[in-house]
């Protein structure tokens, strides 16, 4: 018989315990998970950051990552951009009957590897099983807790006129990797997602002594979405289009599909708004980190009326509107 997920695995009985002992416990092993009690009891004090997110990506595996790496990175990054040090994660899984246990094991191993990379521990979890057609293979929900070092000034998440905008790396890779995989676009080599935990990169900027006014991981809605929100109603943000780092394959795929990389989701990028005088220091600190070798100053913040502009390579300006709806490939 094929080794697949069945409804019995979600029953809380023998099959479930076997799954925990065979798949989850060995991959996630740590002292807070080990007792397998109803709640993990972990050390920590002071203010905490708390976040949660659900992951329903198809396909489950895409070039450069998979749903497991995404679920850990996404939650770690949400904590990291609050200024906290991510520490503990929980994971809730919805599994579809018929899912090969081997597929689950691959996802779980990827989660464990990504957690180790990010310096977090997966301390508790839950598994539910739905009948075939009830979900597409695996849905994941992760929640995370981060701690603020004592005495640390928490970033106000409010950009100011005179700030510079810095990106930690090249933009648009994740969304284009998934779109290429979903539409079976045969780029050779395949476009790889940038999905990665950014906690250490964020720490590098804070430890370099930069004053960070705002940080955000520009996931859905892309860079355009984050900057539009930052511009709010009283600031303008002007990007230098030529300074925007975009991988050549991503740029080509965007051109073919008629999609602007500014609107494409990222899963391993952090945007910073910080005083212009600190910008180069932030870029230098970022460039020491894996995945951030192309960190760059990409724009500036001024007083205004909530508009985002891009200065094009021919010296003209275009408006960057907040994202609307799904990014769809264009006709030709």
């Amino acid at each position: 018989m094929k080794d697949c997920i069945t409804l019995a695995h979600g029953s809380g009985g023998k099959a479930y315990r076997e799954l925990v002992e065979r798949v989850f416990a060995p991959a996630f092993q740590n002292e807070y998970l080990a007792p397998l009690t109803d709640a993990a009891v972990c050390p920590g004090s002071g203010r905490i950051a708390l976040t949660t997110d659900g992951y329903v990506v198809t396909p489950l595996f895409f070039p450069g990552g998979d749903i497991g790496r995404l679920a850990v990175s996404g939650t770690v990054n949400d904590l990291a951009v609050s200024g906290a040090i991510p520490r503990y994660l929980t994971v809730g899984m919805v599994l579809e009957t018929g899912l090969p246990v081997e597929t689950l094991q691959r996802v779980v191993r990827s989660m464990a590897d990504t957690a180790a990379e990010a310096g977090v521990q997966i301390v508790t979890g839950d598994t539910k099983v739905v009948e075939a057609g009830g979900c597409s293979g695996i849905y994941l929900t992760t929640a995370g807790v981060g701690l603020f070092p004592e005495g640390m000034e928490i970033p106000p998440q409010r950009p100011e006129a005179g700030d510079a905008i810095v990106t930690s790396g090249r933009i648009g890779s994740h969304g284009m990797a998934v779109m290429a995989a979903r539409h079976s676009l045969a780029f050779d080599p395949a476009i790889e997602s940038d999905v990665r935990p950014m906690a250490r990169a964020v720490r590098a900027v804070l430890d370099a002594g930069c004053i960070v006014r705002a940080m955000r991981d520009p996931t859905r809605g892309g860079v355009a979405g984050t900057l539009s929100e930052w511009a709010g109603t009283r600031l303008d943000i002007t990007l230098e289009e030529e300074a925007l780092p975009v991988r050549a394959d991503v740029r080509d795929a965007c051109a073919i599909l008629g999609i602007d990389p500014l609107y494409v989701a990222n899963e391993g990028v952090v945007l910073f708004s910080l005083p212009a005088k600190d910008a180069e220091r932030a870029v230098a600190a970022l460039r020491t980190q894996t995945g951030c070798e192309q960190a760059a100053v990409i724009g500036r913040v001024s007083d205004g009326r909530g508009s985002v502009f891009a200065k094009t390579r021919i010296g003209t300006f275009r408006r960057i509107l907040p994202p609307s709806g799904e990014q769809l490939p264009r006709i030709c």
């Binding site: 599909l257 094009t312 010296g315 300006f317 275009r318 769809l328 264009r330 006709i331 030709c332």
Partner: protein
Amino acid sequence: MNSIEVLSRKIESLADGLPPTTIMEVCGTHTHAIRRYGVRQLLPKQVRLVSGPGCPVCVTAQEDVARALALARLPNVTLFCFGDMMRVPCGTASLSSLRADGADVRICVSPMDAFEFAREHPLREVVWFGVGFETTTPHTAALIEAGIRSGVKNLSILCAHKTMPNALRALLGGETRVDALLCPGHVAAITGADAFAFLPEEYGISAAISGFEPEELLLAIFALLKMQASGTPKLVNAYPRVVNPAGNPAARSLVETYFEPCDALWRGLGEISSSGLSLRPAFAKWDAGARFSMEPVAAVPASGCRCGDVLRGRIEPNECALFGQACTPEQPLGACMVSSEGACAAYYQYEGAGI
């Protein structure tokens, strides 16, 4: 001085001695590129760029969209279409809203995806909603050819393909007044540059085939203004790195094998004789209209929508009362607000704030 500055200055000094000149582009990718790069910001006031019927999504008749919706509603049908057809409104529905309600509508980048799907799902009726000009029709022809070779039985075409030359004739023979035309580089790569020679010959209008980089657009505009200045309208191929006089005979012959000219409905322009393509009688069984015995569908555009006037270059998008108010990219009422190549969407996206 870089090439953009050189060209802008040359255009400026040339336009100085000219009366106001209106140049129309008739390619959605030009519309998009002109807005995307803010090319208008580099042009003197006397040179006005207007968008014509070049966005394939925008010119697709409401009736054809209604037929696609009717097919998508059939329980056994999987409808494949280009991404930007999804959100074209038709009454209160769109392919996107039908999909949300459970219809099997799929976006593809290549029509061949429909072929693969049909082979893998023999119990589904797979329909390809073919829209677009000379550039996309060869892909639909290749799809039919693949279907014939493989013997697949559950694949058909909802054909709304169009051809450019007669639409331009209808436009220029009507009330639209333009001084010069930017001709579509991609279409010309298939048809050959010569297909546009009728513009100066029959209508006395300067024409320049242009590429899609800002330098190429400025170069083509410069060529047009030079002809205006000398009073000798001609066809200039300003995109020679891609376009040659004869075009792509292989692609054309593929299309001619399966399609024949027919009269076609264009949004905003009405019926234009010999401006569309239908399947030749020998291949009628690939026609979704025949396979599903569809009645002609009547459909009316949203009340107050002036897409038709926009497509004929009679008004700028922001002169429509719905523009940016009732009709936005989030909630489009007219087709020109849907595709990023649509004149209204491109205007809204890049210049709405009035830079």
